[in-house]
């Protein structure tokens, strides 16, 4: 029972971690929270579901989902964030909130308010170990998430574009003086963060077999809580925060109250802010 909840929590936690990475990267480089991260996740899921329904090709659907998420991310950067960059913190904040509402209500108009099921059946083969079972889908979610995290780490530390992003995050003026194209670094960051959120959205659309215009709201908020829990700006922090949150939420729902499942993330958030505001791995 306990082990089972840990497995379920780990699968959800991996998805939170992917979205939390997007938050943390964009925060690290721009100093603002991208409120619309959850909406990018939702557009990723819709991109995949609609393409799969139309073509029946899973690979094409996944590519289309990621492309949709990236497109939304880049448009967001260009029209809601770039014009207000460097202004008083209230202004980009309200702009981001507005963009998030705009995107989710636009999706409700285009796609309709009802849930759509994932247009492909997965035969739930599951593996048993120590009395707990893990479904193939959970295994896929965990493996894909871990692979993406490793790829992100390699990209940021070993490639020229990745190092440019790290430099801009440390000091954008100094980076500009060293000949780094700062705008390109912003766009790359949004692309990476959006792509990971898009993958997270597709994975969740498969896992819960449901896609809806408001599906991004709660995971977006929980992922943000995860980013704070781990320490905002810290990439390993986002991963740990996501996993801890996913597990805590499932344990809370199993042992305390399932009605309040969605509230646990925020209770955890408030506790972190009281006890250790910089998060598990955050620096002062």
């Amino acid at each position: 029972m306990l082990l089972q909840q840990l497995v379920n929590g780990l699968a959800a936690g991996c998805v939170y971690a992917l979205v939390a990475l997007g938050y943390t990267m964009i925060f690290g480089i721009l100093g603002i929270v991208n409120f619309a991260q959850g909406e990018i996740y939702m557009y990723g899921a819709f991109g995949a579901v609609l393409t799969l329904a139309a073509t029946g090709n899973l690979v094409l659907a996944i590519v289309a989902g990621i492309a949709a998420a990236c497109l939304v991310g880049v448009l967001l950067e260009r029209f809601a964030f770039r014009p207000v960059r460097g202004m008083h913190p209230l202004i980009p904040l309200i702009s981001a909130i507005g963009a998030s509402i705009f995107l989710s209500s636009l999706a409700r108009l285009i796609f309709g308010p009802e849930d759509r099921s994932f247009p492909m059946e997965f035969h739930p083969h599951s593996y048993q170990f120590f009395g707990a079972e893990i479904t193939e889908l959970q295994l896929v979610i965990i493996l894909v998430s871990l692979a993406l995290m490793v790829m992100l780490w390699l990209f940021l530390n070993l490639t020229k574009h990745g190092k440019a992003i790290m430099a801009v995050a440390m000091d954008s003026d100094a980076a500009k003086l060293s000949g780094i194209n700062v705008n390109a670094a912003y766009v790359t960051t949004f692309l990476l963060g959006s792509a990971m959120s898009g993958v997270a959205g597709i994975l969740m659309a498969m896992y819960y077999n449901a896609t809806a215009p408001n599906m991004g709201l709660l995971p977006g908020l929980k992922a943000f809580s995860a980013a704070i829990l781990g320490g905002v700006g810290s990439i390993p922090g986002a991963i740990i925060g996501g996993l801890v949150l996913g597990v805590a939420e499932n344990l809370g729902a199993a042992y305390l109250s399932s009605h309040f499942k969605d509230a646990f993330a925020f209770i955890a958030l408030v506790l972190v802010l009281i006890i250790r505001p910089r998060g598990i791995l955050g620096r002062q």
Binding site: M87, P89, L90, G98, I101, F102, L103, F266, L269, L273
Partner: protein, 288 residues
């Protein structure tokens, strides 16, 4: 005046109170809240439950304000350890938790909502007439507007403005930042609770959905549209965003898209809002 117009005017007055109350935290002190509807709801439920239990309206009205202010204090103490974007998310989380609590408690009637809230009583006589209720709202709103101007120009208001514009400089001036920010949330919650009380006794029926994120965003849009920090702006924003959806009923599906687009467009093109002064842009544009 037709009953319908009276109804719209009463809603304008209630939302004007909400916009003015949010303007205290967002406009005066620079604390963006995305959970303001939770305070509105706490006031509405508190007042409704107290009156259903048999106490009179003045007691219910006053307690609604005080209970909401206390919960505002309970939110502010942990939440104000963070600022800006984090604070916005924490208040959003608070709003969601409060909505979940309204939906799951027995005393609030769960998802069915609270039914049979008695009307406002003045000196023991129930106030059923709409013009009478509108007059009551206008009197309370008028008192609130006067107190907003007093507050804005008082020592407290100037301390809030200093914190909003640059908190580090403000702390060098000897301003207790944490204390003043807490006060802003508490006062803001108090007035939202009073607005909630009026709303509950006016509609006689409340349900958790009314106090969700949609309403929080709507109140924030009112403040931003009118001009962050501007008192006439908050009134104008409340009037516009209450009357427009009534006039444009056929376009109701587009309402949220409009709010979202409005917030982005206002920030990109006119951050000071309709009524805001140019000086505020300089403040908002310059300090980071």
């Amino acid at each position: 005046m037709s009953v319908y117009i009276l109804h719209v005017l009463i809603m304008v007055a209630i939302f004007a109170m909400l916009a003015l109350s949010l303007n205290i935290s967002v406009g005066f002190a620079g604390l963006v809240s995305l959970g303001h509807a939770a305070f509105f709801g706490i006031g509405a439920y508190a007042s409704g439950i107290i009156m259903i239990k048999g106490l009179g309206f003045p007691v219910a009205f006053g307690s609604a304000g005080i209970i909401t202010a206390l919960l505002g204090l309970a939110l502010a103490l942990p939440a104000l350890r963070v600022k800006d974007d984090y604070l916005a998310i924490v208040t959003l989380g608070f709003g969601i938790i409060v909505e979940i609590i309204f939906m799951n408690l027995d005393i609030t009637g769960g998802t069915d909502g609270l039914v049979g809230i008695p009307p406002v009583t003045l000196c023991g006589n129930p106030l059923y007439s709409k013009p009478g209720f509108l007059l009551l709202c206008v009197v309370i709103l008028g008192f609130m507007i006067v107190s907003m101007y007093t507050l804005k120009n008082s020592k407290i208001g100037r301390a809030w403005a200093a914190i909003r514009d640059n908190d580090i400089t403000a702390s060098f001036m000897g301003i207790n930042i944490y204390g003043y920010k807490t006060l802003a949330i508490v006062v803001s919650a108090f007035w939202a609770g009073l607005a909630g009380s009026l709303y509950a006794h006016y509609t006689a029926y409340i349900n958790p959905h009314t106090f969700g994120m949609h309403t929080s965003i709507m109140i924030l849009s009112m403040v931003v549209l009118g001009g962050i920090g501007s008192i006439p702006g908050a009134l104008l924003g409340a009037a516009l965003l209450t009357v427009l959806p009534e006039v444009l009923r056929p376009l109701a599906d587009y309402q949220d898209i409009f709010y979202g687009g409005l917030l982005v467009a206002m920030m990109v093109f006119r951050p000071q809002g309709i009524m805001g002064r140019v000086k505020i842009t300089e403040i908002f544009g310059g300090a980071r």
